[in-house]
Symmetry: C2
Subunit: 269 residues, 2 copies
DNA sequence: CTTGACTCTGCCCTAAGGGCAAACTCTATA
DNA sequence: TATAGAGTTTGCCCTTAGGGCAGAGTCAAG
């Protein structure tokens, strides 16, 4: 029988952590003195705490460690999931690092890329629209091409040049379960289905537009430059931005060749 | 002037986030209605919120974004720091991934590596000891070789075979600012300095020992196997574990060649 | 018996907001 | 002009994995 301090030294964890594991039911002391409340751990609990520490070192959250230890069946399943999470983390950090490098170069270079903002009138268009809820922006960009395929199967004829854009529908912006409407311009309305509706989007008299080259990862930068331009040139955003997908995974393999136009309806300040 | 909802839609962030930034002083609304408390944002605030979002996408914490925006001087400094953090994150995740792969292979293979635990008596030794506080385990392993150099300069003669181990001194285990004592066996006591003391460590009648091959990253596994063995063989840990560094960065370049022995004093249960 | 080391519970804190509730305000329509 | 519905406010509790501290109780050695 070890006191909490002994057990903590043997395993190189703090007593506070052991109390925490007791509270959440991850590792209950073998015996708790009824009168004093002192916790006593037994040697037979060493394998369990060791396994906990091992899994913790792999980055698993404590609740998953708990389920993994209690029902050993899903072990590999949970571990595979953790593998994917780790790979995602690495990917995300590498993306950020890449962005950061570009940003530092941009800061040093001093001269910001020229921003070729164009003012346009967005004409009234008839669009096939699919409204859907995507769990996050990552999957959102996976759905765009599917939308194209679906509409082709319905028989909608796309207008030239290809024109596809998105409207965001949540009253408030949200990070998850985003309600988006994907619109593709068509020549004429067509048979509607449950998923695809046809509607007419009214014209926008003035929109500041900026093209974004490359993968969507750095779309934020384009927004930044466009908003800065809008502000510096005496305009003011008047409505939700639209993203118009000109080239993407559906027609270009190399992400560097993708082309997107961000369009922000504006009015003079 | 935009209401919070408009401003949130334009910038694709939630109103809650804007309120949060107001509270922490990162982005105060241009005007707050005295009577209703409604927040109103102006177009001139777009560049700031855009920059905030950009930096947030790079993974910077909000307080650092604040200082970076307020005193532009340290910009590159903070960003370089963030770069290092990101690289650390990547490194850590890759380590975990590697550990996870090994763990999965071990699970599938079913047969766990044979654990060659040996029982030893740890003799009484005279050691040169340096007691120091290291901020974390990562830097701890950087200090071990320095200790060797220092002691050499003092003129302490190491015993053959080289024998260096560590004792952890905090009453309770802690994750940061760890009070460790690094001991190196010597032939005889020698001139003491402020940093290096000589003392005699009493013998341990029985210790279960397991050698660990390779980098320290997976030292946990060796502890796990050793404790499991101890439990399965009817022993019980009786004192703090020691780590004895047999081969390391000071004499082997390839981490795969490093050799460490974990020693746990035990008694029969 | 005292003293110092150890342990207990409880409370507040972390970062960046999310979720919900109750109350209030704004705007468009009937 | 009245009202409904949408928008906004504050406030409270919640998230991870414990850290820090205070006050009180307990254990073991001299």
């Amino acid at each position: 029988m070890y006191s909490i301090g002994e057990f903590s030294r043997i395993n190189r964890i703090t007593p506070k952590t052991l109390r925490h594991y007791d509270r959440i039911g991850l590792l209950k002391p073998d015996r708790v003195d009824d009168w004093t409340g002192y916790r006593y751990y037994s040697g037979s609990q060493l394998p369990r705490i060791r396994k906990i520490l091992k899994l913790k070192a792999l980055g698993l959250p404590l609740d998953e460690i708990g389920t993994l230890l209690n029902e050993n069946a899903h072990a590999t399943c949970i571990l595979q999931q953790q593998k994917q999470r780790l790979q995602q983390h690495i990917q995300e950090s590498q993306n950020r690092l890449e962005q950061l490098r570009e940003y530092l170069i941009q800061l040093e270079g001093g001269q910001n890329m020229q921003t070729n903002v164009t003012m346009k009138q967005l004409p009234e268009v008839t669009v096939a629209s699919m409204r859907t809820v995507v769990p996050s922006y990552d999957t959102y960009f996976d759905i765009v091409p599917k939308m194209g395929e679906y509409m082709e199967s319905v028989g909608a004829v796309c207008r030239e040049p290809e024109y596809c854009f998105t409207i965001y529908h949540d009253g408030e912006y949200r990070d998850s379960d985003i309600d988006v409407e994907i619109c593709e311009a068509v020549v004429a309305p067509c048979r509607e289905s449950e998923k695809v509706k046809f509607k007419t989007i009214s014209a926008v008299p003035q929109a500041a537009c900026l093209q974004h080259h490359g993968p969507y990862r750095s779309l934020q930068d384009t927004y930044n430059r466009l908003f800065t331009w809008i502000h510096e040139n005496g305009y003011q955003p008047a409505d939700n931005p639209r993203e118009s997908y000109i080239h993407g995974i559906w027609d270009r393999d190399d992400p560097e060749d993708w082309l997107t136009e961000v369009q922000v309806p504006v009015i003079l300040k």
